[in-house]
C-alpha cells in the first residue's frame, strides 16, 4: 500500500482528489463521444443522394402531342410522372366532389396551375408503397373513379388524382413545375 503515491494526498483530503478524477473521467468520456460522433456523421451522410443523383433534378416536357383525355408517362428523378390532359367532363367530375368527404382534401384548382386547369401533372407513384398506378397508358384500368388504379394494393384515385379508395394515405403528389410556354413545362 505504501507504494501508492495517492496515499500521501489523502491527508489533504481524498474527496477533493476523487472529484478531480471524476472530472477527468467525464471530460475524457465526453471528448471521446464527441470525437466518435464526428467520425460517424460522414459514414452516415455518404448514404444520402450523391451530387450526380441530385443534378438530374429537373426536366423539360413538350405538351403539344398530348390530346384531351390522353396521358403520358415520363421519368423524373428515377420515378414516373403522369402528365394528363383532362377533358372538360373529367374536370367537372373532379370539381363536383365534396372536398370534406376526401381523405386528403384538395380541390382540382389547388392541384393544377391557374389557366392550365386541364393539365394534371402528378408523380406516378402510389402514396401507399410506391407502385406505379395504372391509367396513364392507353386502355389501362382507371379504377372506379376514372383516374388511376394501383394494382398492388387496390388504391383508387379520381380524375384529380386524389385518393378515394384503398390503403394509400395521400393524393398522388404534385411535383414542383412551371409553364415556360402554354405547351412547354419544366418539372423540378
Amino acid at each position: 500500500m505504501a507504494t501508492q503515491p495517492h496515499d500521501q494526498l489523502t491527508e489533504t483530503g481524498a474527496p477533493l482528489d476523487e472529484r478531480r478524477r471524476d472530472f477527468i473521467y467525464i471530460a475524457t468520456g465526453a471528448f471521446a463521444a464527441a470525437g466518435a460522433a464526428t467520425v460517424v456523421w460522414p459514414l452516415v451522410n455518404q448514404m444520402n443522394p450523391s451530387a450526380d443523383v441530385l443534378a438530374l433534378a429537373s426536366i423539360d416536357v413538350d405538351l403539344s402531342p398530348v390530346a384531351a383525355g390522353q396521358a403520358i408517362k415520363i421519368s423524373w428523378r428515377g420515378k414516373p410522372v403522369f402528365v394528363r390532359n383532362l377533358t372538360p367532363a373529367e374536370q367537372a367530375a373532379a370539381n363536383k366532389v365534396d372536398i370534406k368527404s376526401l381523405r386528403d382534401p384538395e380541390t382540382l384548382a389547388e392541384r393544377t396551375k391557374p389557366g392550365h386547369s386541364n393539365w394534371l401533372i402528378t408523380l406516378g407513384v402510389c402514396t401507399h408503397l410506391g407502385c406505379v398506378p395504372l391509367g396513364a397508358g392507353e386502355g389501362e384500368n382507371r379504377g372506379d373513379f376514372g383516374g388511376y388504379f394501383c394494382p398492388c394494393h387496390g388504391s383508387t384515385y379520381d380524375t384529380a388524382a386524389r385518393i378515394r379508395k384503398g390503403p394509400a394515405p395521400k393524393n398522388l403528389e404534385v411535383p414542383a413545375y412551371v409553364f415556360k410556354t402554354p405547351t412547354q413545362v419544366t418539372i423540378g
Partner: protein
C-alpha cells in the same frame, strides 16, 4: 459451464498438449460439440433443425462468395451478369440455384426450429436470452434475404425494393428523409443496388457472429428437451458425440437429399417468374409478392386498410407497425407465457392453442401470397388479429387457468415409462396417474 459429470478433455498426443496450452480450440470443440457436452437423451428429430440451419448458413456463405466473383452490382449490367452466371460461368447455374433454393431451405429449417422452441417452451427461463438471440438472427436473415433478392435486379427485385423501402416513409415527420437516405436517391437505383450488395455480403458474417453467441448461450443451461423438465442426473443425458453427431448427420443426409432434389429438379418452383424480366422503373407488375418466407408478415402489412382511431393514424403506418410488431412481440414471449411448465406435451390447452396458431400462420401465409382482393383481405385481417391475440390474450390467459398434466420426475423416468407403457397410452393422460407410478429412486442407468 456444463454438468458436473461431463467428460473432461484429455489431449493424447504431444501436439495436442502443446496446442491445448496455447490456444485450446480442440478443447472448445470437445466441450461444445464433442463427448464433453452432455445432452438430454430424449431429443427427437425436431432438435436436428438448429444444426441444419447452421449448415444452411455455411452453404449460403460458400455459394454466395462464389457468386460474388461473377456478379456486377450495377443497374446497367446486374441482370445480365446474373444471366451470365446462369449460362456462361462454369457450373454457375448450379451455384445460383443452390444459393436461391438454399435461402428457402434456410428459412424452412429456421421456422421449424422456432416452432420447435414454441412447442417445447424453449423460450422460457433460463433460456430467454438464447431465444432473443435467435430472434435477432431471424431479423438479420430477413434483411439479408430481402437485399439478396434485390441484387438480381429483375421486376420483382425492383418493385420489392420499392415497396419495402417505402415502409420507412410511413414514419411520421422524418420518414421521407430516412427513405431517401436508405435509397441514396429518390427511387431504387444504382446507389441502392451497390449498398445492398455491400450489406448482403456483410450481414451473413454478422449472422455467423450472433450464431456463435446463440450456441454459447445454449451451452450454459444446456439443451431443452421434449419433456421440458430440467436434467437432474447423469442418467438423463448422453454425450453429444457420438449420439447426437450421428443423429444430426442422419438428419443432414435427409435434408441435403431434399435440397438436391429441389436444386436439380425444381429450382424455380419457389420463385416468381416475373423476376426473370429486367427491372423497369416505369411499369409495376400486376401482382407484387415477396418470397414465400415473408408471406405471413406481408399479409399483416396489408391487413390494415382503414385509418383509425378517427382517421388519425394512417392505415399505412398501422400496417408497418403491425408487421414489425409481429416479430418484436416474440421478444416478450418469455414474459407473456407465464406458465412454469415448458413443454406443451403436458399443457392440454396450450397444445391446442399452439396448433391453432400454426394454422393461423398458414392462413396468413396463403393470404400474403394472394392479390390484395377479397376474400383474402378480410381473411388476413381476421388472421392478423388472431396472431396478436394469441400472444397478448390467449397465452397469458391459458397460463393462468390451465391445469397442466403431472410432470415426470425425471427425463429418464419419462423415457422408461414410455417404453413400458406403450400398450396403454390413454392411462397416462389421467390426472394424478403419472407421477406416482414409479418410485423416484428408480432411475435406470443409460446403457453406455
Amino acid at each position: 459451464m456444463s454438468f458436473p459429470w461431463a467428460k473432461h478433455y484429455e489431449p493424447t498426443s504431444a501436439f495436442g498438449k502443446y496446442i491445448d496450452e496455447k490456444l485450446p480450440i480442440p478443447r472448445l470443440v470437445y466441450n461444445s460439440l464433442g463427448a464433453g457436452y452432455p445432452v438430454p437423451k430424449n431429443l427427437n428429430y425436431f432438435y436436428n433443425f438448429g444444426v441444419l440451419a447452421g449448415v444452411a448458413l455455411v452453404l449460403q456463405i460458400v455459394t454466395g462468395i462464389v457468386l460474388a466473383m461473377h456478379y456486377a452490382a450495377n443497374t446497367q449490367i446486374a441482370f445480365d451478369s446474373v444471366e451470365h452466371i446462369m449460362r456462361d460461368v462454369n457450373g454457375g447455374w448450379m451455384m445460383r440455384y443452390m444459393h436461391a433454393t438454399g435461402a428457402s431451405f434456410f428459412f424452412v429449417a429456421v421456422y421449424v426450429h422456432i416452432f420447435r422452441g414454441l412447442y417445447y417452451g424453449s423460450y422460457k427461463p433460463p433460456r430467454e436470452v438464447l431465444w432473443m438471440l435467435g430472434l435477432v438472427i431471424l431479423l438479420l436473415m430477413m434483411a439479408t434475404a430481402f437485399m439478396g433478392y434485390v441484387l438480381v435486379w429483375g421486376q420483382m427485385s425492383f418493385w420489392g425494393a420499392t415497396v419495402i423501402t417505402n415502409l420507412f416513409s410511413a414514419i411520421p415527420l422524418i420518414g421521407e428523409t430516412i427513405h431517401t437516405w436508405l435509397l441514396g436517391g429518390f427511387a431504387p437505383d444504382n446507389a441502392t443496388l451497390n449498398r445492398f450488395f455491400s450489406l448482403h455480403y456483410l450481414l451473413p458474417f454478422i449472422i455467423l457472429g450472433v450464431v456463435i453467441l446463440h450456441v454459447w448461450a445454449l451451452h450454459i443451461p444446456g439443451s431443452n428437451n421434449p419433456t421440458g423438465i430440467d436434467v437432474k442426473s447423469k442418467a438423463d443425458t448422453v454425450p453429444f458425440h457420438p449420439y447426437y453427431t450421428a443423429k444430426d448427420f442422419f438428419g443432414l443426409g435427409v435434408y441435403l437429399t431434399l435440397f438436391a432434389a429441389v436444386v436439380f429438379f425444381g429450382p424455380n418452383v419457389l420463385g416468381e417468374a416475373d423476376n426473370y424480366i429486367p427491372a423497369n422503373p416505369l411499369s409495376t407488375p400486376a401482382h407484387i409478392v415477396p418470397e414465400w418466407y415473408f408471406w405471413p408478415f406481408y399479409a399483416i402489412l396489408r391487413a390494415f386498410t382503414v385509418d383509425f382511431p378517427f382517421g388519425l393514424v394512417p392505415a399505412k403506418l398501422w400496417g408497418v407497425l403491425g408487421m414489425f410488431a409481429a416479430i418484436l412481440l416474440l421478444f416478450f414471449l418469455p414474459w407473456l407465457d407465464t406458465s412454469p411448465v415448458r413443454s406443451n406435451n403436458y399443457r392440454p390447452m396450450a397444445r391446442i392453442a399452439f396448433w391453432v396458431f400454426v394454422g393461423d400462420i398458414v392462413i396468413l401465409a396463403i393470404c400474403g401470397g394472394k392479390p390484395a382482393e377479397e376474400p383474402w383481405v378480410r381473411l388476413s385481417q381476421v388472421a392478423s388479429a388472431y396472431y396478436f391475440a394469441h400472444f397478448l390474450l390467449i397465452l397469458p390467459l391459458i397460463a393462468r387457468i390451465e391445469r397442466p398434466l403431472p410432470l415426470p420426475n425425471s427425463i429418464s423416468e419419462a423415457v422408461l415409462k414410455r417404453h413400458t407403457n406403450t400398450g396403454a397410452p390413454a392411462a397416462q393422460q389421467l390426472p394424478g396417474a403419472g407421477v406416482a407410478e414409479l418410485p423416484p429412486t428408480g432411475h435406470a442407468q443409460p446403457a453406455e
